[in-house]
C-alpha cells in the first residue's frame, strides 16, 4: 500500500498544483484543498503504515499490544489538518471577498499593485 499511497500523494500534489495554477480563483480554492490533502497523506505515508492497530491501550493494561500504528504522525496530522482547515476557511472567504470586491474570477485581473508599474 505504501507504493500506492506514494503515487496517490504525488498525484494529489500534481492535481493540487495544477489547479492552483489555473486562472480561475475558484479553481485555486480547489487546488489549495487538494494540496492540503496531499500533505496530510504524505506525512501519514512516510510516518510508516501499520494496519488496523490503533494506538489505544486496552483497558486494564499499561501498554498497547504490538504492533500498533505510530501515534506521533497521527497527532501531527491531526494538528496539521485542523490548522489547514482554519487557514482554508479564511482563504476561501478571502477569495470570495476578492471576487466580490473586484468583480472578476480571473486571477490575471488581480495583478494588484504590481499591475500599476
Amino acid at each position: 500500500m505504501t507504493i500506492v499511497l506514494a503515487f496517490l500523494v504525488g498525484g494529489l500534489y500534481a492535481g493540487g498544483l495544477y489547479m492552483m495554477m489555473r486562472r480561475s480563483i475558484v479553481k485555486l480554492i480547489m487546488g489549495l484543498i487538494l494540496l492540503s490533502y496531499a500533505t496530510t497523506l504524505l506525512i501519514f505515508t512516510v510516518g510508516g503504515l501499520t494496519r488496523a492497530a490503533p494506538p489505544i491501550v486496552p483497558a486494564g493494561v499499561s501498554e498497547p499490544p504490538v504492533p500498533f500504528a505510530d501515534p506521533v504522525p497521527q497527532a501531527l496530522i491531526l494538528t496539521a489538518i485542523v490548522i489547514s482547515f482554519g487557514v482554508l476557511a479564511f482563504a476561501v472567504v478571502l477569495i470570495e471577498q476578492t471576487h466580490r470586491s473586484v468583480g472578476t474570477d480571473d486571477s490575471n485581473n488581480l495583478r494588484g499593485i504590481e499591475g500599476e508599474l
Partner: protein
C-alpha cells in the same frame, strides 16, 4: 584629542539653537575652530621634534577597532588646515548666509564636516579613518544639496555622494584587506610592521584604496562630481571642495605611502592618473565662464598635480606635494570665497558678465589679487615656491623627466591663465551692469579671503620657518623618516626659474587667446557626449532600466506564474539533489496490498481527476468530498481512528463552507489556453513525480522511533490516558494544540472581519449590506463617541 574631534559633533547638535544669537553667529561659531587651531598649535614643539602624540579609546576592541588618534607632522598639518580655514569659513558663512532661514542646519552640517575631517586626518585606526571618511562624504551631500528646492542641487548632491561613496566602499574593502594582511588595523602599527608590498593582498588592496582616494579627490575619470558640487553655497565650495575634503584622498595617499608606496605599480598608477587629471582639469577649466566652475576644474587640475607628485619616484616629490597642498588650499579657498562674494553682491557668477568691481570692493580685489598671484606662481608669493619645487621634482626624475616636466608646465600655464582670468575680468576695467547692484562688502565676507590671500604672501616671506615648522614634519611622516626641508625664494638662475618664467609668459599668451581656445575646444568637445559624466548617467539609467525590466519579469503580478516559479524552483532544487545525491539502491517498501485499500485509493484518484476536469463547481466540491472521505477511510484502515473521525468531521464542515461560499462565486471558467494547460500539467506532474520518489525513498529508511515507545509506555501510567493520540495532543505535545486552536481562533476572527468590515466605498455601493450590519455599525458609532 577625542574631545577635540567630537566637539564639532557636539556643537552641531546645538547649532540649530545656537543660531538664535543673530548677526554675530558666524563669529560665535568660529570660536570652535579657533580654539581647535590653538589646541593643535600647542603641539607645535612636539611635532617639530618628530614626536607623535597618540590617544586611544576602546570602541569595538573585539574587532580591533579603536578610537585611536595619531598626531604626527602630516596629520597635524592637515588638522591645522581644517581648523584654521574653518575659522574664516565660519565667519564668512555668517555674513554670506545672513538671511538664510535654515542657517542653523547649515552650521550643524558644516560642523559635522569639520569634526569628521579632523577625525579623518587624526585617526590612527583604519576603520576609524574610514568612518570619518564616510561622514565627510555624507556631510558633503547635505551641504551640496543645501539649496534643496533646486533640482540641480539635489542631483549634484546625489552624484557626488554616489561617486564618493562608491569609492568609499572600495576603500572599505581595501582597508579591511590591509588590516587582514598586516594583522592590525592601526596605521602606526602597519607603518612599523613588516612590508606588505609582497603580500598576495597587495594589488587588490592598493587598487581598492586608490579607488577610494581617487573618487574623493576627483581624479579622472571620477572628477565630474566636483564641478557639479558647485551648487553648494560658496563657503562650502571653499572649505570642502577646495581646501579640505577633496584633499582627503591626497591625505590618504600620503598617509599610506610608507605602507603601500614605493612599488612599480604605485609609481605607475599615481603619476598616470594624477598627470591625466592635471591636464584634463586644466584643459577644462579655461573653457568655463562660470567663476565657480572655472575654479572647480582648476582644483581638479591641482588635485591631479598632488596625486602626480605623490606618485613620483623621488624623495623630493613629497616635499613638493606638501608645499603645493598648503599653497593651493590658501589661494583656492580665497578665490572660492571671492567667487561667493561676487555672486552674493552681483547675482551672477558668469565671469564675462563682470567687470570693474575693484572700485566697489577694493579689499576683496586685493585679496583676489594676492590669491591670483600665488596661483600664477609669482614671487614672492608662496605659489612661486611650490611651482619651483614641482619643476625641480620632475626634472630630477630618472625616467620620463622631460615628459613629466612638459606636462607640468602645460598644466601650469593654464593655471596662470585662469589666475589672470579670475582676477582681471571681474575686478578691472569698466564697471559692468549686473543683475544686482553691488554694495560695499561687509567685514565678515572680506576677512576670510583677505586673510588667506595675505597668508599666501606671508608664507612666501617667512619661507624658512614655514619649511621647518609646517613642511618638514609632514614630509617626514610621508617618507617615514626624519627629513629636513629648506625652502627659499631665490636659488639663482636655474632650469626651474626659467621654466617658471616660461610658464607665466605662456599663461599670459593663453589668456590672450582664450576666446579662440574656448571656440576650438568647444568644437573638439567630446566630453559632453562621451565623458565620464555621461557614463555615470548612462550607468544610472541602465541600473534603473534593469530594475524596471527585472520587476516586469519577476514581479509581474500574475499569481499563477508565481506559483509556477515556485514549482520550478522546487523541481530543480529537490530534483537535482535527489538525482545527484541519492543512490536509489534501497529496496522498495512492501508491495502488500488489500482489495479495499486499492479500491479506495483508486476512488480517491478518480475523484481527484473529476475535480480537475469538472465543468461544474458543485461537482468538483462533491468530488473533493469524496477525496476527503476516501483519505479518512485510509486512516481507518491504518489504525488512526482519531484522524479518521476528525477528517470526516472537517471534510463535512469544508463541504458546508464551500457550499455556503460557492454560490456567490461564478461558475468554473477556463481562461488559459491549451498550451498553458499542458505546460502547467507537465510541471505539476513533474513535481508530483518528485514527491512520489521522495516518499518512496524516505519510506525505505524509516527508523524505529524513540518517541513512539516512550509514549506507549507512559501514556497510561504517567499521562493517565489510553488513547495515545489524544494524550499526545493534550499532554505530551499539548503546546502544539494550543497553537492550533489559536490558529482557529484567528481564522474565525479573520472570516468575521472579511465579511463584516466594509470599506466606506463598499458601504455605498454594496446594496446587499444587511440592515443588521448597519445597525451594528450604528451602535458602534455611539460606542465610539462614548470612548472618545
Amino acid at each position: 584629542m577625542l574631545v577635540a574631534v567630537l566637539s564639532g559633533f557636539g556643537l552641531s547638535l546645538a547649532a540649530p539653537w545656537a543660531v538664535r544669537v543673530g548677526r554675530l553667529r558666524g563669529w560665535l561659531f568660529a570660536l570652535l575652530p579657533l580654539l581647535l587651531t590653538l589646541y593643535f598649535l600647542s603641539f607645535t614643539p612636539a611635532v617639530m621634534t618628530g614626536e607623535a602624540i597618540t590617544a586611544s579609546y576602546n570602541w569595538v576592541p573585539s574587532l580591533g577597532i579603536q578610537l585611536s588618534f595619531y598626531l604626527d607632522g602630516l596629520s597635524w598639518l592637515f588638522a591645522l588646515l581644517v581648523s584654521g580655514t574653518g575659522i574664516f569659513i565660519f565667519i564668512y558663512a555668517g555674513a554670506y548666509m545672513a538671511d538664510e532661514p535654515l542657517i542653523g542646519r547649515f552650521y550643524a552640517y558644516i560642523l559635522i564636516f569639520m569634526a569628521s575631517m579632523l577625525g579623518l586626518v587624526l585617526a590612527d585606526n583604519l576603520l576609524t579613518l574610514f568612518i570619518f571618511w564616510e561622514l565627510t562624504s555624507f556631510s558633503s551631500y547635505l551641504l551640496i544639496g543645501f539649496k534643496h528646492k533646486d533640482e540641480a542641487a539635489r542631483k549634484a548632491a546625489l552624484q557626488a555622494l554616489l561617486i564618493t561613496s562608491g569609492g568609499g566602499l572600495a576603500l572599505m574593502a581595501g582597508l579591511i584587506l590591509l588590516g587582514l594582511a598586516g594583522n592590525s588595523f592601526e596605521i602606526s602599527a602597519l607603518v612599523a610592521g613588516e612590508c606588505l608590498t609582497e603580500h598576495p593582498f597587495y594589488v587588490p588592496t592598493l587598487l581598492l584604496i586608490l579607488a577610494g582616494a581617487f573618487t574623493k579627490s576627483a581624479q579622472v575619470p571620477f572628477h565630474f562630481w566636483l564641478p557639479g558640487a558647485m551648487t553648494a553655497p560658496s563657503p562650502v565650495s571653499a572649505y570642502l571642495h577646495s581646501a579640505t575634503m577633496v584633499k582627503a584622498g591626497i591625505y590618504l595617499l600620503a598617509r599610506f605611502t610608507p605602507i603601500l608606496g614605493g612599488t612599480a605599480l604605485w609609481h605607475l598608477l599615481l603619476p598616470a592618473v594624477g598627470g591625466l587629471t592635471m591636464l584634463v582639469g586644466a584643459y577644462l577649466s579655461l573653457r568655463q565662464v562660470d567663476l565657480k566652475r572655472i575654479l572647480a576644474y582648476s582644483t581638479i587640475s591641482s588635485l591631479g598635480a598632488l596625486v602626480f607628485l605623490l606618485g613620483l619616484d623621488i624623495p623630493l616629490a613629497a616635499q613638493a606635494a606638501i608645499v603645493f597642498l598648503i599653497v593651493h588650499s590658501m589661494y583656492k579657498g580665497a578665490l572660492f570665497l571671492i567667487a561667493g562674494i561676487l555672486e552674493h553682491e552681483t547675482g551672477t557668477r558668469d565671469v564675462t558678465a563682470l567687470g570693474g568691481l575693484a572700485r566697489i570692493m577694493p579689499l576683496v580685489a586685493l585679496a583676489a589679487g594676492f590669491a591670483a598671484l600665488s596661483m600664477a606662481g609669482i614671487p614672492p608669493f608662496f605659489g612661486f615656491v611650490s611651482k619651483e619645487l614641482l619643476y625641480e621634482t620632475t626634472l630630477g626624475l630618472q625616467d620620463n623627466a622631460i615628459l613629466f616636466t612638459t606636462l607640468a608646465v602645460i598644466a601650469n600655464m593654464m593655471m596662470v591663465a585662469v589666475a589672470v582670468l579670475v582676477f582681471v575680468r571681474p575686478f578691472t576695467g569698466q564697471l559692468v551692469e549686473t543683475p544686482q547692484q553691488p554694495h560695499a562688502v561687509p567685514l565678515g565676507l572680506w576677512l576670510g579671503p583677505l586673510a588667506l590671500g595675505l597668508g599666501s604672501l606671508a608664507a612666501g616671506l617667512v619661507l624658512a620657518q614655514v619649511g621647518a615648522i609646517l613642511i618638514a614634519p609632514a614630509v617626514s611622516a610621508v617618507v617615514a623618516r626624519p627629513t629636513a626641508v629648506k625652502l627659499a625664494l631665490w636659488h639663482g638662475v636655474n632650469p626651474m626659474l626659467i621654466l617658471s618664467i616660461l610658464t607665466v609668459l605662456g599663461g599670459l599668451v593663453v589668456y590672450r587667446y582664450r576666446h579662440s581656445y574656448r571656440r576650438i575646444s568647444n568644437r573638439l568637445d567630446m566630453g559632453r557626449q562621451w565623458g565620464p559624466a555621461k557614463w555615470y548617467e548612462f550607468g544610472l539609467e541602465a541600473m534603473l532600466s534593469l530594475g524596471r525590466l527585472q520587476t516586469r519579469v519577476l514581479q509581474h503580478g500574475y499569481l499563477r506564474i508565481y506559483l509556477l516559479t515556485i514549482n520550478l524552483v522546487f523541481f530543480v532544487l529537490v530534483g537535482l539533489t535527489l538525482v545527484t545525491k541519492h543512490d536509489f539502491a534501497g529496496q522498495l517498501p512492501s508491495t502488500d496490498l488489500r482489495v479495499h485499500e486499492a479500491v479506495i485509493a483508486a476512488i480517491i484518484a478518480v475523484a481527484m481527476i473529476v475535480v480537475l476536469f469538472a465543468r461544474s463547481r458543485l461537482a468538483a466540491v462533491v468530488s473533493l468530498g469524496v477525496v476527503g472521505y476516501g483519505i479518512a477511510l485510509i486512516f481507518v484502515f491504518f489504525g488512526a481512528p482519531d484522524l479518521a473521525m476528525t477528517q470526516f468531521a472537517i471534510e463535512t464542515l469544508t463541504v458546508i463552507l464551500m457550499v455556503l461560499i460557492l454560490y456567490r462565486l461564478p461558475p468554473f471558467a477556463t481562461f488559459s489556453s491549451r498550451g498553458q494547460r499542458i505546460r502547467d500539467a507537465v510541471i505539476a506532474l513533474s513535481v508530483g513525480a518528485l514527491i512520489t520518489t521522495l516518499v518512496l525513498v524516505s519510506t525505505t529508511v524509516t527508523q524505529p522511533t524513540l518517541l513512539t515507545s516512550y509514549f506507549a509506555e507512559n501514556s497510561v501510567p504517567a499521562a493517565k490516558g489510553r488513547n495515545i493520540v489524544n494524550v499526545i495532543l493534550v499532554d505530551f505535545r499539548g503546546l502544539d494544540t494550543l497553537g492550533e486552536i489559536t490558529v482557529l481562533g484567528i481564522a474565525a476572527l479573520g472570516v468575521y472581519a472579511l465579511l463584516r468590515l466594509r470599506t466606506p466605498s463598499q458601504r455605498k455601493v454594496d446594496l446587499t449590506a444587511t440592515v443588521e450590519t448597519e445597525l451594528v455599525a450604528e451602535q458602534d458609532k455611539s460606542k465610539e463617541v462614548e470612548a472618545m
